[in-house]
């Protein structure tokens, strides 16, 4: 059975991974729109 400290470490790691995944997803979407803006408007 994992100790309370192990639980807390896992919880922190899960939260960190979730935040990182969200940020990476947002970055991909941002890059998509930057590409559209750069190519279609020739700015």
């Amino acid at each position: 059975m994992p100790s309370p400290e192990d639980e807390l470490i896992r919880k922190r790691q899960r939260e960190g991974a979730r935040v990182l995944a969200l940020l990476l997803g947002a970055f991909v979407i941002l890059l998509f729109f930057i590409t559209i803006a750069k190519t279609s408007l020739n700015w």
Binding site: Q13, E15, V19
Partner: protein, 302 residues
């Protein structure tokens, strides 16, 4: 750095909220605001997504500065009440994580700015980050009472970067906006350092009230307010803005001068009786927000 042993080492992986705290979100809000105003005051606007990305890059660059500043000053922060609860001095994060986070964020913001806006804006952003971290934090802050005067240049970059991100050019108005923030920084920080000077003294930071005394600092606050007010009003007579901005800048700067005059007239050395200094500090934040709002409103109604 032997003093590093004073800081407790984090046993757990850092919480994402602590990474957010490293970026000093409150300081970031003023940086983002001034950068946005620089962008919105420009004669031509980029497509929304590119303008948004440019402002995001300014915010990330400011976050990198905050993280690297806290990485370098962890043991100083541990000595000051105001900063002792930050993630590093409180032992909630490893120092190396803060360094990696700060460098990563800084490089990412510069590269993204170059790709999304233009490389002149990216160079200015890189220069502002390096200036804040190397010139201000590492070199000037622990050595000279003029740290705020020269270091203020780092915080003055955002409107210039915002303008250049939109236009690709450096012109007179954004340079004046740079000058306004540059000259605003000493009165703003010295007002704060007057009523928290015991903190700075305890940490051994040579802020002006610690080195030159309270009375001299009050005199310097007033003296710096004069060229700041002149720089704030200057865009109007130079024909760079309209009358709406000119009147707003005049009124706001006059109120700043009155409050700086009250600080000059104050004689107390007890921080609890420094109401004039606290008012000036609070007003100085409002002043910058109001002045830059007036600039954008003036540009958009013209």
């Amino acid at each position: 750095m032997p003093a590093m042993e004073m800081i407790p080492t984090a046993a757990l992986p850092a919480d994402w909220r602590d990474f957010l705290a490293l970026t000093k979100p409150r300081v970031m809000s003023l940086v983002v605001f001034s950068g946005l105003c620089g962008l919105l005051a420009a004669p031509e606007l980029p497509p929304f997504v590119l303008g948004f990305t440019a402002i995001l890059c300014i915010a990330l660059g400011a976050g990198a500065c905050g993280a690297l500043n806290q990485w370098y000053e962890a043991e100083l922060d541990a000595k000051m009440r105001r900063t002792a609860k930050r993630p590093l001095p409180a032992g909630r994060m490893n120092r190396q994580s803060a360094l990696h986070f700060g460098v990563g964020l800084g490089v990412f913001s510069v590269v993204l700015m170059g790709l999304a806006a233009n490389w002149l804006a990216a160079i200015l952003l890189a220069a502002s980050i390096l200036f804040y971290v190397l010139i201000y934090t590492v070199w000037l802050k622990p050595r000279t009472a003029q740290n705020i005067v020269i270091g203020g240049a780092a915080g003055a970059f955002p409107p210039l970067i915002g303008w250049v991100a939109a236009t690709g050019r450096i012109e007179l108005l954004p340079v004046l906006l740079f000058a306004i923030i540059f000259l605003w920084t000493p009165p703003h920080f010295w007002a704060l350092s007057l009523f928290v000077r015991s903190d700075y003294a305890a940490a051994g930071i040579p802020m002006l009230p610690v080195v030159a005394g309270v009375e001299n600092t009050r005199k310097q606050i007033f003296l710096y307010t004069l060229p700041m007010a002149a720089a704030a009003v200057a865009p109007w007579p130079l024909g760079l803005t309209g009358v709406a901005y000119g009147i707003s800048a005049g009124v706001l700067s006059f109120a700043f001068l009155v409050l700086a005059g009250r600080v000059l007239a104050n004689r107390t050395t007890d921080p609890r009786e420094m109401g004039a200094e606290k008012h000036l500090f609070a007003y100085s934040v409002f002043y910058l927000f109001a002045l830059f709002t007036a600039l954008v409103v003036d540009r958009w109604i013209a």
